[in-house]
Amino acid sequence: MIMKLRKNLQEILEDLKIHEQFKENIVTWRTIEERPAKNVPLPGDLHVQLKEALENRGIGQLYTHQKTSYETVMSGKSIVAVTPTASGKTLCYNLPVLQTVLSNPNARALYMFPTKALAQDQKSEINEIIQETGMNINSYTYDGDTPANIRQKVRQAGHVVITNPDMLHSAILPHHTKWVSLFENLKFVVIDELHTYRGVFGSHVANVIRRLKRICRYYGSDPVFICTSATIANPLELAENLTESEMTLIDNNGAPTGRKHFLFYNPPIVNKPLNIRRSATLEVRKLAGELLKNKIQTIVFARSRVRVEIILTYLQELVKNQLGPKSIMGYRGGYLPTERRKIEKGLRSGEIYGVVSTNALELGVDIGQLQVCIMTGYPGTISSAWQQAGRAGRRHGESLVIMVASSSPLDQYVIQNPEYFFTQSPETARINPDNLIILIDHMKCAAYELPFKAGEKFGNVETEELLEYLTEERVLYQNGDKWYWMNDSFPAHNISLRSASQENIIIVDQTNVANVKVIGEMDRFSAMTLLHEEAIYLHQGTQFQVEKLDWEEKKAFVREVDVDYFTDANLAVQLKVLEVDKLLEHPDMEIGYGDVSVRAMATIFKKIKFETHENIGSGPIFLPEEELHTSSAWISLDKPLADMGHERLEQGLVGTAHALNHIAPLFVMADPQDIHVVPQVKADHNEKPTIFFYDRYPGGVGLSEKIYTGMVPVFRETRKMVTGCQCESGCPSCVGTEAVSETAKRDTLKIIDFFLDASASKER
């Protein structure tokens, strides 16, 4: 291609408006106008060195939210600051921390970032300011990569220790006696990316913070918490639940933003009767290809690891001749850290033009400014979508965000209700620090760290019964009014904060017999459907076939292959109610909440052709059943639908469950995999037609409980989605493919209406 023919972003925007192939599919075009900065002068009490350091770095004023944060923190209050991408959030904590350390060299601060990459980034940033001040302030990262010979220095002399929750959990707290100078003088705990601490992970981290506060109390410190969060519905509630401290919310964002075009792109319908649209993946290939051909730096987000790899394969092929394969890379959780660092660097330097990522890049990893962001499907939450959109055009200049909808009901709901997306944020980040499994695990760690005293609370939890349980289990030993750790293990080593199932499957590449190597890992539950034998596993765009899955030894052996399909597996689920905790009875309907047992088994997998997405074969999966005890919310309907007939009732329930499964995650800010919906024509416990929602993590993390309290809005929005669907009798976009009967859609609506009527009747 000749240089002058290369288009810039402006020209591309014109193309999108004019060209038939794009124009028709763009259903919403919002232009978010630039927003000027709201500036205020630097605080008057700022140390001269610090003030000069800021001014030397071109910071002569603060944004409003930075100033408020500074003042609130300096007055001794804990805060949570809501800060969109690139709004200068780091000053919200660096400023009060540095100011305090400058006045009191004994003061210490602990920074916690969800990933090592973010910690590295922040260390460079704070060190640049420190250097500028010329003061002797030490800031270090403390993580798995910290060399042994400087660890001692970090422990004793680090004013600012930058770490992650896993390290705090397994390396710092269990060795607190080596950190006396930190814990005696800890003034601040910084929790960045607060919104990532939700669900199972957040529930674990809340307990790690309980342990942290307990150790601080022991050494006589009482740190102020400084949290920063992306936009979610309940930042204050989340921060208060996570830290069990009173918080001040700071949301007067004063940072400027550039002009941003936000496009909703709905692929054309290719199958009218089934209402099937052209695959989002293929549309993204077209759009991203067009941009990358013009060397416009673009980031493509996809929802799953598999999707990332498929798009990567497409794109690397498409631009092979122009850019060389290395200029477009994948980025996701399964890659090894060194691989990821290399990609981050390439993006910043501009050597890499295109990156295809899972939400791993949603977080504040510094990759410089990209011009365009394309989302393959709705990322699942509004918060997540804005975070991803923030990757394009970070502060100044024009940028483009394209959200390409898939056929899934949730995507179709969002794309047809742009107001929903642009005006409200109903997502709440939920954690359940009192999930018994998580709680018990951290009680063990806490007892290892310091003995429990009678009457002592762990966070807000009364501990007596739990201590008795652990004593019966012979993990603790009671002597007088104290409980001591009495076991030869190191409990934190057996407890992972990140994955639901503790033991990950290691992925071993045996393509080259002489050089067998580990290329990644995956949690057990995902492995059931992604690493079964014969599955096609994609890694950096390379296809591997799983040759052997050793479930006992937790190893999957893979070999490189070159095939034109990917695999997709089914999971069969059985569910039983064990105990009913809450029950709301209406005339013809009941809403329940309680404990359930779920048994899941991977059954079969399908081979699906890349280009056409047609099914070209299938096979059985032989893996043991996994059992899960968790919490669940459900609705049971009385006789109503007797006239419907068994067959139609069943189809209707399947359709309703399918539709609900796509809307429910919206309300609890969870990944669709975190909450499951299962229908039963005749539930075991009450013999009524029932639809269950359950948390996928043992013991539950509060998702079902939230749904229990908000069942009506979930059904109401689901109804909107189903009626809004343009198909006649049900399609993958509303009631799914399993409900195949002619009447499925009508019956689904009937069931939803029946529920809504019954719930209203209570008020009569």
Binding site: D441, W485, D488, S489
Partner: protein, 445 residues
């Protein structure tokens, strides 16, 4: 719903934080309390100590502090008692040697009286560092007059760490710790647990520290697969353990002890710890004689390792002495010693003596070090003695060392070929220089 029901239901998911060993420990604990005594509590002025008679019979007495107590056992051994190949009295001799011989070495007791050394070992409830790993036994021995006095401070329950450390710190005024791997394990763990009670007990004094684990590694890693103290005892020190309780069972026995209070199992652990400490005395004595060259039974390999140790400490004179003493033979060790000596000579730029020694190693017929020696010799000839001709012969000799050329390491081969090329060039360019040098230097070959 009751919490207990819920906990029991979730039991399958609750497995991960503790280890399987619990099942084993529970059958140990099945027996009922037979002592019938009450657990001492702070409210009771009278502290009742379960099985006190049995403890007394074993030399253990309670130490009271802060309304709590620990147990301190004391055993005295006459200096003429033998432990392994040595008597405790021999340790006095060892300290004397260091004070008289004037050899500088990290294990040297120069300036110390025998009474100032403090042989120390602990038993803990788990492996590895970490705050929750409790020390339940602090044991140490030292010389007092005509006796070796061993004391063991026992933690009778996890709440009694204040009396434990109080009693311990009250009675330790020594200069130097002698331990087995105590630098990385026992002492840091003492520091960790001490931190938790630091407001109630005296500060930890600072000590010198002889860690005999590292010394044993240096001397015996060539003959022992594992350098556990029990291996060194058996293979080197002649210590026989009878009915010994394996150290890894100690945590289980302790958990059982605090449940049932019955001292029997603990007495076994105490015995185990006692032997560990006594062996430290023997080991220090033996190591002293080894290092100072006073052990007539020292193998030439041991002498060689001592030499290497001195060499790495920069003690050239002592190193050369050791190597010299074993360089005469025609076995592997002698050849290694010659090679080491050659390097020592090279370090002091005594090129000719070094060359003779490298030559001798080259002639030993041991291919790996022979090859190395040839190349070293050739380097001296090329760069220092300026004799490329003979240097070239040395390189060729290196390549002929093996019957099968395939056994020559590829990197070595590549380097040697480069060297040959360069030397051939030099020979061609400066033939007269080569000739000139011939004759005077080569008499030594």
């Amino acid at each position: 719903m009751s919490l207990k029901n819920k906990l029991n239901r979730l039991k399958p998911h609750l497995g991960s934080g503790k280890q399987e060993d619990l099942s084993k420990s529970s059958h140990l604990i099945k027996e009922e309390h037979s002592g019938g005594s009450v657990i001492p509590s702070e409210k009771e002025p009278e502290i009742v100590i379960p099985y006190l008679d049995q403890w007394k019979a074993e030399g253990a007495l309670p130490y009271f502090f802060d309304n709590n107590y620990c147990l301190v056992r004391e055993v005295r051994f006459p200096l003429d008692q033998k432990h392994g190949h040595f008597r405790f009295r021999d340790f006095l001799q060892a300290v004397k040697v260091w004070n008289e011989i004037g050899i500088s070495h990290p294990l040297s007791a120069l300036g110390h009286h025998p009474e100032e050394l403090f042989f120390f070992d602990t038993e803990t409830t788990g492996l590895g560092g970490g705050t929750g790993n409790t020390i339940f036994l602090l044991g140490y021995a030292s010389i007092k007059g005509e006796e070796l006095v061993l004391r063991q401070h026992v933690l009778p329950n996890p709440g009694a760490e204040v009396p434990l450390y109080q009693s311990f710190l009250e009675s330790v005024n020594y200069k130097t710790l002698v331990t087995y791997n105590g630098k990385s394990f026992d002492w840091p763990q003492v520091k960790t647990r001490h931190t938790l009670v630091r407001e109630h007990v005296p500060k930890l004094p600072s000590f010198g520290h002889f860690d005999l684990y590292h010394a044993s590694r240096r001397l015996w890693k060539h003959k022992l697969d594992r350098l556990k103290l029990s291996m060194v005892e058996k293979e080197i020190l002649g210590v026989l353990r009878e009915d010994d309780i394996p150290g890894h069972l100690a945590p289980m026995i302790y958990f059982d002890f605090i449940e049932r209070k019955q001292p029997e199992g603990m007495l076994g652990v105490l015995k185990h710890n006692e032997i560990d400490i006594l062996s430290l005395v023997t080991l220090y004595t033996h190591l002293t004689f080894q290092i100072c060259g006073l052990d007539e039974g020292q193998t030439s390999q041991e002498t060689y390792e001592v030499g290497r140790w001195f060499s790495s400490l920069g003690e050239k004179g002592e190193a050369v002495k050791r190597f010299d003493s074993i360089a005469e033979g025609d076995d592997h060790v002698s050849a290694h010693a010659q090679l080491a000596l050659a390097y020592e000579r090279k370090k002091v730029r005594d090129w000719e003596k070094a060359l003779i020694l490298f030559q001798a190693v080259a002639d030993s017929g041991i291919s790996d070090i022979g090859r190395e020696a040839c190349i070293e010799g050739s380097k001296i000839l090329e760069h220092k003695l300026k004799n490329p001709q003979i240097a070239l012969e040395f390189v060729h000799k290196a390549l002929k060392m093996d019957e099968k050329p395939a056994e020559i390491p590829p990197l070595f081969l590549a380097d040697a070929l480069k060297r040959i090329k360069r030397l051939e060039n030099k020979c061609r360019k400066f033939p007269e220089e080569a000739d000139k040098r011939t004759g005077n230097d080569l008499s030594i070959l």
